[in-house]
């Protein structure tokens, strides 16, 4: 059981490392440190660095969280966590119902 948890945690950390690296590159490298270099590229009416700093970074943040959600769903599925979660949820609702009656 514990070794299963360990593997789950290792894969979780791997997902975090990848997503947070993208987060770091977008926030600090593209939008702050190399913003002037990126500005030489144009994206319609925007300079790329300016667009990253004021628009693109925020879009990437939203996408990152939803990708994380998908990856974690897959991981939870692999380790059968969602069944436990459903069981727990049912248990909780029963308890709540019992509370209401009391």
């Amino acid at each position: 059981m514990r070794s299963d948890d360990n593997r789950y945690w290792k894969e979780n950390i791997r997902i975090l490392t990848i997503l947070l690296s993208i987060w770091f590159v977008v926030s600090f490298l593209m939008s702050v440190i190399f913003v002037d270099q990126l500005d030489s590229i144009r994206l319609g009416g925007f300079k790329l660095g300016f667009w990253m700093a004021q628009q693109g970074s925020v879009y990437v943040y939203v996408i990152l969280i939803f990708v994380y959600l998908k990856l974690m769903d897959r991981l939870d599925h692999k380790y059968h966590h969602e069944e436990k979660a459903i069981l727990e949820e049912e248990q909780r609702q029963e308890n709540a119902a019992a509370d209401d009656q009391a």
Binding site: G45, Q55, Y61
Partner: protein, 560 residues
Amino acid sequence: MSLQVWTYLCVGLSFILYIAIAVKSRASSTREFYIAGAHVPPVANGLATAADWMSAASFISMAGIVSYMGRDGAVYLMGWTGGYVLLALMIAPYLRDFGKFTVPDFIGDRYYSQFARMVAVVCAIFVSFTYVAGQMRGVGVVFSRFLEVDIDMGVFIGMGIVFFYAVLGGMKGITYTQVAQYCVLIFAYMVPAVFISIMMTGQAIPQLGFGGQLTDAYGGGYLLDRLDGLHEELGFAAYTSGVRSTLDVLCITAALIMGTAGLPHVIIRFFTVPSVRAARKSAGYALLFIAILYTTAPAIAAFARTNLINTVNNAEYISMPAWFRTWENTNLISFTDKNGDGLIQYVADPDVNELVVDRDIIVLANPEIAQLPNWVIALVAAGGLAAALSTAAGLLLVISTAISHDLLKRNLMPDITEKQELLYARIAIFFAVCVAGYFGIRPPGFVAQVVAFAFGLAASSFFPAIVLGIFSIRMNKEGAVSGMITGIAFTAIYIVYFKFINPALDNADHWWFGISPEGIGAVGMLLNFLVAVLVCRFTDSPPRDVQDMVLDIRVPGKPD
């Protein structure tokens, strides 16, 4: 209908809605009062978190700040959204699995120390009061500008409304009113933005109009190129270029991001959902709903800046449109004809410049500048109030739980019954509303300065303590406590020195490595991590049951 009637109608209807929701969602247990019984569906929690997060400052001031800072304004846009990625990936799911009520709960239990709990309580209360004072002031200001009631009267009305649903419903009442408040505030923000975008660029989506071409009436060409050109003509730095040093921009962004991820009133929202998965999901929804406003704000900033310069520069003072006079009366615009030529000179050089424009005007006067109908202007008033009230309520709840739960139940009076604890929670929120109202009516002169404090403190205290508590089993109380104290002390001393003791030196020449007090929280955070890890190496491992707890919260779906 006149503007006045429309405004009373919009504000009145929105208030009735909030009260109706409050009556429907009374809290009957501490679990409901603190975390809405952990029954909130992820989308609803996303909406509530977004309203909780976006304050009077986000709604009224942010577009204006960006408008004056140009590209550097990105520190706020990224700083106040990027933290949600950290929340979703590194904090929310695990704290949800931990399954208690508050942030000090986690700090106190994870570091098996009442002292750590008390440090967290003091930080939570300080950060929340700092923040809430500004909200109450915002309520008063909106009332006075749009409804022509006294600022103090406005604060009282706002206090009454918040008091009603916060005391009655606790987190449950607050959550569902926040859902309604998000809808009101986002509608009020988007309508003028869409109108202005169509007017200036022919694009209905402001985010696209931002990079689009101006219509012929505005002279064509890309909006941002035109704005850069206008700025150069008047002696300002180009709008799309930065003025601040790269290191400072980096530090401010980091401090705001880590501060966001460490703010108790945001974290507490993720305790209200039923499962770990729901916590992840609601963080995604929250950021999505926040991003709608945060990506629109820089577009409004650029539209309004262009419009403003076009309208006022070198124009005759007597031929100014009506909104100019309206806002002149409130002192948000002031004009002094220095060279006596009857024309308005709006330039970078302070000796020649004749026009001072308050940054709040960018959002508040936007609908009037764009000549939108009265109901849109009235909507902006209701939206500003929704933004201020929703944030105030979330903060007041943190203060109340910190006192009734963390201070009394978990520390001083562990034997009180649930009924008593609930009563204390209601009394605490009552006093918190009164103190917040007092700050709203008599704002301490330092409110503006202490905002940096709130984020700096959250970044340099909570964020490292929580992250280490989850990701390092070995982290012990000695490490965490000395880390928090180092982080807080360093950040506080730096800010107090430049903001209160020696404000004359508060400029880039005197800052350490050019890092402003706004950004110093990032350094405080690094110090916290460093000290915590070092001290931990030379002290004992945490007890077995604490290590087991950490292993438990890492894996979802385990019984508590």
